[in-house]
Amino acid sequence: MRQGRRTGTTALLVGPAAAFFLLLLVLPLAVVVIYSFGERGAAGGYSPAFTFDNYLSLATRGQAFLNTLLLAPLGTLLCALVAFPLAYFLAVKTSPRWRTMLLVLIIVPFWASQLLRIYAWLLILGNRGIPSLLDLLGMDGVRLINTRFAVLLGMVYGYLPLMVFPIYVSLEKLDKRLLEASADLGAGAWGTFRQVTLPMSIAGVATGSLLVFILLMGEFIIPALLGGGKVFFIGNALVDLFLQSRNWPFGAAIAVSMVAIMLATIALYMRFMLGRSGLRQQALV
């Protein structure tokens, strides 16, 4: 009786989430997989068929896969490199009085839409922005906008807070007595950082990296705006196939491949991180 009621309660609590995932994730994904074996309709769209052609022509988007698989990890790495010192400064070096205000300052830009913030870079990097300043200094003809550099910059800028906060949290939890112990036992500043601070905060770095990496893999706004349509990501290829050339089956095939690549990469990453630092899974998720 009691057992039965508990099962009922559990079902009631889990039900909405289960229905949500089934209706809005599993079913649509199944449709995408089915479509990926179909053919483009005469005027676009989907027409039922069973063919592997869509998967066989994935190579025509090779450059887009390459750009994504190169710039997303690189952007994640740069993001971590920029975010760590910042988070360290906030968590360890800043007095609690200032800390809250500084944290708020990191969040404030996020109140504006990402599109707006990226659009601002369009003006900063454009001909009338930094290049015209460099021109005054005698450096002529520098082009920044619509390059891979611009895309990378936009990605690091856009996703920095997502990296800063997990690292900040893990550093804040760091027991300061461990640092003292390390110093007492004769480790220098670098030794303490390498043997105590970094291992203790790696969970934050791992979480932040995962968050940023997943979002960067699906990114298409930043390459579109700061890459001028020339630095093409998989996300851009998908938008094009669905909203311009109307080749749904090929778009579905690319989407399925992308999901497969993501799952494989993340599985490898989790395994590597877990094996390396003995992290508990809960620290990551």
């Binding site: 579109a224 001028g228 311009q244 080749n247």
Partner: protein
């Protein structure tokens, strides 16, 4: 907490971005829509008391969803319509007919009026996406006042599916303050892109015009769907790609800022650029290129048909239409409208090019838009 704001803004900017990418959003429009302008608009619509009151009795509802192209109307005219009727106009700006077609095919657009180009109408009709117009509700459209060359494609099996907004051409605009030498051909456009203008040239993010004008380099038809000819065009495009500043149909901001000095362009963008920067020069390639007409049409299942008809009729009023022409810089197909235009507009060679340039131009064909090989070629060019 930051996750929440992120989700909302992502949803919002996906829409906004698509418009931007295909072409569309001018800086002013963009700032307006993402910043205070949007907030005010939403507030205004959420509070019934803030909505303008109709000035006459006929009930036309309170909103009209109007889907059009960038820099393509006189805001004063839209405001006047709202003032007269109480109908607020939501404007959505697109960058290509392909994108409009894709949205209509996906369904549930909620559009009331759209602005399709001549070559799309037969496809929209055969896919049952637009309705045959009730001309009795558009008395300002008088068929005999329009040259049949411009409006022929709107008539299918005796029914009119769209009424003309304006016509125009597709050439390229050159900033002569930065580019030396006289430019007259598409051959020069592509040759100099790969030479002294490297990094300073833009092409549309639209297969019809970008591929079409690459085909003109070899003297082929703008509408070619011949695999051999398309292969040559693709080779040229891929070669030119590293030399382009951007692939984007919203070229006015980059041309104004000096990021780009030459861009494939439509008539009105060239007019608007020249209005502010006299050194901007519009070129129709001697080899030919595109001439087109844009129309007003009503999608099947439009939510507010009465307002759609009232709006189209209002915009075709010669006095209103003449104001439109003066604002957007595209020529009208309507004799009564042209009669109201000042001489300096009627003698402007950007709007009304010389006859020998015009006669080399081709109207886009329905197959040019829907050909899967052209769509895939453009996608390969962009992802190369």
């Amino acid at each position: 907490m930051s996750d929440d704001t992120r989700q909302i803004s992502r949803k919002q900017f996906v829409e906004e971005l698509l418009r931007y990418r295909r072409g569309s959003v001018s800086r002013r429009h963009f700032l307006g829509i993402t910043g205070l302008g949007l907030a005010t608009a939403i507030l205004g619509q959420a509070v019934p008391g803030l909505r303008p009151r109709p000035a006459f009795a006929q009930d036309l509802g309170d909103t009209l969803n109007f889907t059009t192209w960038p820099n393509y109307f006189d805001q004063a005219n839209l405001d006047q319509f709202t003032k007269d009727t109480g109908v607020n106009i939501n404007v959505a700006v697109f960058g290509s007919n392909e994108e409009m077609l894709a949205k209509l095919q996906a369904g549930g657009t909620g559009w009331d009026v759209l602005v399709p180009t001549n070559y799309t109408i037969s496809t929209y009709k055969s896919l049952d996406l637009i309705e045959a117009l009730e001309l009795a509700q558009i008395p300002n459209f008088i068929e005999s006042d329009h040259d049949t060359r411009f409006i022929g494609e709107a008539k299918i099996d005796g029914a009119i599916y769209a009424v003309p907004k304006n016509w125009g051409t597709t050439g390229y605009v050159v900033n002569t303050a930065k580019v030396e030498g006289e430019m007259t051909t598409w051959k020069q456009f592509w040759d100099r892109t790969r030479d002294d203008l490297s990094g300073l040239v833009m092409v549309h993010d639209y297969q019809l015009t970008t591929i079409g004008n690459a085909l003109k380099y070899f003297g082929y038809s703008f509408n070619s769907i011949d695999p051999g000819e398309l292969a040559e065009a693709e080779k040229l495009l891929i070669e030119a790609k590293p030399h382009l500043f951007a692939i984007n149909s919203d070229y006015q901001p980059a041309m104004r800022a000096g990021d780009a000095v030459m861009s494939v362009a439509w008539t009105g963008d060239a007019s608007q650029l020249k209005r502010d920067i006299p050194e901007m020069h519009y070129v129709l390639g001697k080899e030919g290129g595109e001439i087109w007409t844009d129309f007003y049409a009503i999608p099947k299942g439009a939510q507010n048909r009465p307002a759609a008809y009232a709006f189209i009729n209002f915009m075709l009023d010669p006095a209103v239409n003449a104001k439109e022409v003066k604002a957007h810089g595209y020529p009208s197909t309507d004799k009564r409208t042209s009669a109201l235009l000042p001489q300096e507009v009627l003698s402007d060679p950007i709007l009304y090019p010389a006859q020998e340039l015009l006669s080399a131009l081709e109207f886009g064909a329905a197959a040019t838009l829907t050909d899967p090989n052209r769509a895939e070629l453009m996608a390969r060019f962009k992802s190369a």
